[in-house]
């Protein structure tokens, strides 16, 4: 993949994350819930999962790509070229694993 494509996705996910995170955070504030603590009670959490499946899944993938690609950028700078390539592969694997776990949670709870 061209580096510009990767970076474009980085920026797109950033923009997307602004909306998704805002939504995600608001779910746990007095604005949309009775309070932060309350929002984290089991029933409420499960309720959220049921109602917001797509949002949470999108958030998961976008944040994973964005965060891990961010780490990759840092590693590319700190590591020599060859190690940078290895790091990329490692991060992709971590990403796939985390995405799998996260998806599992969403599917099971919802």
């Amino acid at each position: 993949m061209k580096e510009s494509t990767v970076q474009l996705i980085q920026y797109l996910t950033a923009a997307l994350l602004v909306a998704l995170l805002a939504y995600h955070v608001l779910q746990h504030t007095p604005v949309l819930e009775e309070g932060y603590r309350v929002s984290l009670e089991y029933e409420n959490v499960v309720k959220h999962y049921a109602n917001e499946r797509t949002v949470l899944a999108l958030l998961l993938y976008a944040a994973l790509f964005h965060g891990l690609n961010g780490l990759r950028a840092i590693l590319l700078e700190v590591l020599p070229s060859s190690a940078g390539k290895a790091a990329t592969i490692l991060l992709i694997l971590i990403g796939i694993a985390a995405a799998y776990f996260g998806t599992l949670t969403i599917v099971e709870v919802a």
């Binding site: 970076q7 474009l8 920026y11 950033a14 923009a15 994350l17 602004v18 995170l21 955070v25 504030t29 007095p30 309070g35 932060y36 603590r37 984290l40 089991y42 959490v45 499960v46 999962y49 998961l60 944040a63 994973l64 965060g67 891990l68 961010g70 780490l71 840092i74 700190v78 971590i94 985390a98 776990f101 996260g102 599992l104 949670t105 099971e108 709870v109």
Partner: protein, 158 residues
Amino acid sequence: MPRKKPKLLDNRGGLRHHLNPSYPRARWTAERWAFILHRLTGIFLAVYLLAHIFVTSRVAQGQGAWEAIMSSIESNPLGVVGEWILWGVIVFHGLNGIRLVLAEALGIGVGDPRKLKVPPEPESVYGKQRALLWIFVVLGFIAWIVGGIILFGEAGWL
């Protein structure tokens, strides 16, 4: 003919310069502080995200598992402070991230290249993105404090 090579001294600034937002000392750049903070908060968030995925996976294991892990966080004062810091990190990274998307990806706010003072001055430093940075810093700070009031209030500290 291969030339003889002199013995050079490596003088790369390394992580010390990389992480030092006050280098170069002559003129302080807000952008540099923002960059280094953005990077640190980004790493924090990425690590947190992985932890978050792990923690939330407990929901799938039933109420007991979920409440066990939640109470271990909520009963620990460090956990509450940690949540407040997390909130600050999100706010800074998010708001500064908006500025970066505008400036880096869309070239907005980095100044008009045609504007040339004599002697020339770097327009990007005086561009609208710098103003935006300060606005975000102020807004972010307010959001962080408000978040703190809610968090600490619910924890019964206020």
